[in-house]
């Protein structure tokens, strides 16, 4: 198979053992890479005892995987996975940056990281030089400090390996901030200052392994492809279409902070109590005032939709962050009652510095604020912090407590679902109705009540095998590729590991036949639409579904109650042009059943033995029998 470097690295942090390994062509054809391959590796290694594996324990496996299209498609991503401490299933969580390219150029398609280091460590890779290094100097440090150290130190280290080379470029770095180090479930795996793989909570998994960072520098070329001319033709064609997106290039998803609220009524406001606003202060131009005037992107990107926001003066002076992109505009903005770009930029910066996921972190902050508003959490419970809507500094203080697991922060660090469980117990009141999540994952900032936001249908979050992940929403039909990608299409992007924005947007997309031809030009394998949607994608879906249903040890989902929207989504919208709108329970249940049927699950949402048989997943049948899901 072309497009692959041809080998993977397995690093055991407990023993320090490092070895190379390969996967058979059959496995690569079936599971591709990234999310698909992660699912396969996790099932093979942990599936038989899945429900007993603690996501934050040494037994969990951290996967950092490229895909065959990584580096060849405009916009580079890397896929992070493992057993998720949020959903207790498998989530393929991607983050942008040059990491995937550097890793392939170093000669590896991915990293399989097991065990737990004795002391804070980081992994250093320079071509075939692989080392586990001491992270004492940066353990406890936030993003900027950690990166500054790692860049300088690593360039020195590379220079001693590549003597007389000339100036050495910085390596690519994935790292965690304090939120990850302290094993919170809202921590992201970070890249640069502002990029994060947030869904899944793999920052906490890195922290549990005492792994501060992974540094990689590759000096080789990207692997050979099957048909370079065709690959470049696709590269140019995708770029051409990307270049036409003038507004998306100019404002990125940062136009969403106004649009999703004012036009679509789908933006989280005050912990999702509302989804509509039309604040002038939140229009894109108001953010533009703080932007460095340039496009910003990562390796190969044609859209370069990121912006850099810098606060050069005022009380939040010194903050740097991206756009903020829409998810951060919403979750650490409107969701906390913040409608000022400056405050939103500052809070995004704080969240980045702590290595927290903006969505999961913002969701738990909003949840705490609503409990405070309702008098369930007192100022005393919050140790003097008064998280009133719009009080940026109070939220910044609370975020710090979460990242360091201090006081109430220790409970909130568990994310909305688990925090709600604990607080309900302590207070003797059921607060789960204020926790806006699906199967432990706070949902993306795209509400479903108004029906106007394309990202998710009513079953989008409820039936996704990646739970609340808005980049992988389940859809009817399951093979939907527009206006937003359904889960099976998203799964291809996450497995071949390329950027969704450059190839699949509501207003632009690479047609299925094109994307599979692109894949063929890289790998040499002719993958038909039918083969992907009716077989390969379903196989991955069933494995992910199975591990999600197995869950454990601290959470277990039941389809009849948990393949559902958060309670708040059943309340009518209280304001805006869609006032009064909500979801229809009967229609939802019909859609859910339809979805189950069309992917081969029974009416309870359990994979059917005959479907599993057809997909060759015999061990899954045995496992589901063992736990009593099928007789």
């Amino acid at each position: 198979m072309r497009g692959y470097a041809g080998k993977f690295l397995e690093i055991d942090l407990s023993s320090g053992a490092i070895k190379e390994l390969k996967f058979s062509e059959k496995i690569l054809v079936d599971y591709i890479g990234g999310r698909g391959l992660a699912t396969k590796i996790l099932w093979d290694r942990l599936g038989s005892r899945w429900e007993k594996v603690d996501p934050l324990g040494p037994e969990n496996i951290l996967l950092v995987l490229t895909g065959p299209l990584t580096g060849y498609a405009p916009g580079t991503k890397i896929c992070i996975s493992g057993k998720s401490p949020q959903s207790n299933g498998v989530i393929g969580s991607t983050v942008a940056g040059e990491f995937g390219v550097d890793l392939k150029c170093a000669g590896y398609d991915g990293l399989i990281i097991t065990g737990e280091a004795e002391k804070p460590s980081y992994i250093f890779i320079c071509d075939n030089h692989v080392e586990i290094k001491d992270a004492k100097a940066i353990w406890g440090k936030k993003a900027r400090e950690s990166l500054k150290y790692l860049v300088k130190k690593s360039i020195e280290d590379i220079k001693t390996i590549k003597q007389n080379y000339g100036e050495v470029k910085e390596p690519s770095i994935l790292y965690v901030g304090p939120a990850g180090e302290n094993r919170t479930r809202v921590a992201a795996v970070m890249a640069k200052y502002t990029h994060g793989a947030g869904y899944g909570g793999y920052g906490g998994v890195m922290g549990s392994k005492k792994l501060k960072a992974i540094v990689v520098k590759g000096f080789g070329p990207l692997p050979e492809v099957h048909d370079l001319d065709t690959v470049l033709q696709f590269f140019r064609e995708i770029s051409k279409r990307n270049f036409e997106l003038e507004h998306f290039r100019r404002f990125g998803t940062g136009a969403g902070g106004y649009y999703h609220g004012a036009v679509q009524s789908s933006e989280p406001i005050r912990n999702w109590q509302e989804e509509w606003h039309n604040r002038d202060s939140y229009r894109p131009e108001e953010f533009d005032k703080f932007w460095v005037k340039k496009y910003w992107g990562d390796f190969g990107c044609a859209i370069t939709c990121l912006k850099l926001a810098v606060l050069r003066d005022g009380k939040f002076k010194g903050a740097i962050c991206d756009n903020p992109d829409y998810e951060n505009q919403a979750y650490v903005g409107t969701n906390l009652g913040i409608f000022s770009p400056e405050d939103n930029i500052y809070l995004s910066y704080i969240i980045n510095e702590l290595g927290m996921c903006g969505i999961q972190g913002g969701a738990v902050l909003g949840f705490a604020a609503e409990l405070y508003e309702k008098g369930i959490l007192s100022e005393k419970d919050l140790e003097g912090i008064k998280p009133e809507w719009g009080d940026t500094e109070a939220f910044a203080a609370l975020a710090e407590k979460i990242a360091y697991r201090q006081g109430i922060g220790d409970i909130l660090a568990e994310g909305v679902y688990r925090a709600a469980r604990k607080i309900s117990k302590i207070k003797g009141i059921d607060v789960s109705k204020y926790a806006v999540h699906v199967k432990g994952v706070a949902v993306g900032a795209h509400g479903v009540r108004s029906g106007k936001d394309d990202v998710a249908q009513d079953i989008g979050y409820a039936c996704s095998v990646q739970a609340g992940d808005h980049t992988s929403a389940a859809s009817l039909p399951p093979d939907r590729d527009s206006p937003a990608p359904g889960e099976l299409r998203a799964m291809f992007l996450d497995s071949a590991v390329l950027c969704m924005f450059t190839t699949t947007l509501p207003f632009f997309k690479l047609e299925d036949n094109e994307i599979f031809r692109f894949y063929e030009a890289v790998t040499g394998y002719n993958l038909s639409r039918e083969e992907w949607y009716n077989e390969k994608a379903l196989r991955i879906l069933h494995l992910q579904r199975t591990m999600l249903l197995l869950g454990g040890p601290d959470a277990c989902w039941r389809p009849e109650t948990d393949d559902d929207n958060p309670p708040r989504f059943w309340e009518p919208l209280p304001s805006g042009p869609c006032k009064g709108k909500t979801l229809d329970r009967k229609k939802f249940e019909e859609n859910r059943l339809n979805y189950y049927r069309s992917v081969g699950w029974d009416e309870r949402g359990i994979p059917k033995p005959e479907t599993l048989e057809k997909l060759g997943l015999h061990e899954v049948i045995a496992k589901l029998k063992e736990v009593g899901y099928i007789d």
Partner: protein, 175 residues
């Protein structure tokens, strides 16, 4: 454009897309190979991306420093040409370069330096096409010291960071 050319760099505009590296390595190596690109985008601070390539100094210290006559000046374009068969990878040109531009080919035994693509710089084409306009072809003018612009990635990073982030923040994130 007739006669010697020069590539103007407007660092504050660089998006970090690194498509210039892709274009350059495809032309010279037939592969996507960032380290073998004659233009390298340094990102010593996130958000501060610095495309780094030969400045074609008026007195070409690198050419003078080479004891093997591996480097020569292309009379048409003004580029430094590397004779791969003569270069023995001693690295003296790197030491002589005020900007530390030349670097070793990542897999072969010779240095690589921008050759201006024989007069049609692919990096500039790709940068223009995407409307980043961080690179631009200009004619090479008399009475101007191009060497005065030749700075190392660190020096350029410091300057660009100060422009983008302001002095104080730049110091905090870099020094």
């Amino acid at each position: 454009m007739k006669g010697p050319i020069w590539i103007e760099r407007l660092y504050e505009r660089c998006s970090g897309c690194r498509r210039c590296e892709i274009a350059c390595s495809l032309l010279h190596e037939g592969r996507i190979w960032p380290e073998a690109s004659r233009i390298r985008v340094f990102m010593l601070i996130p958000g501060v991306e610095v495309p780094h390539l030969c400045f074609q100094c008026e007195d070409y210290p690198c050419v003078k420093a080479c004891p093997f006559e591996a480097l020569s000046i292309n009379s048409e374009t003004g580029a430094v040409n590397v004779d791969e068969s003569k270069c023995n990878a001693c690295g003296l040109c790197i030491k002589a370069c005020p900007a530390k531009v030349p670097h070793m080919h990542p897999m072969k035994n010779h240095v690589i330096i921008c050759d201006l693509c024989g007069g049609r710089p692919r990096c500039v084409e790709t940068c223009t096409e995407g409307r980043w306009n961080a690179l631009r072809v200009t004619s090479r003018e008399r009475d101007f010291s191009y060497k005065s612009l030749a700075k190392t990635p660190e020096e350029l990073t410091r300057k660009v960071a100060e422009k983008l982030y302001g002095k104080e923040i730049a110091r905090e994130v870099y020094e």
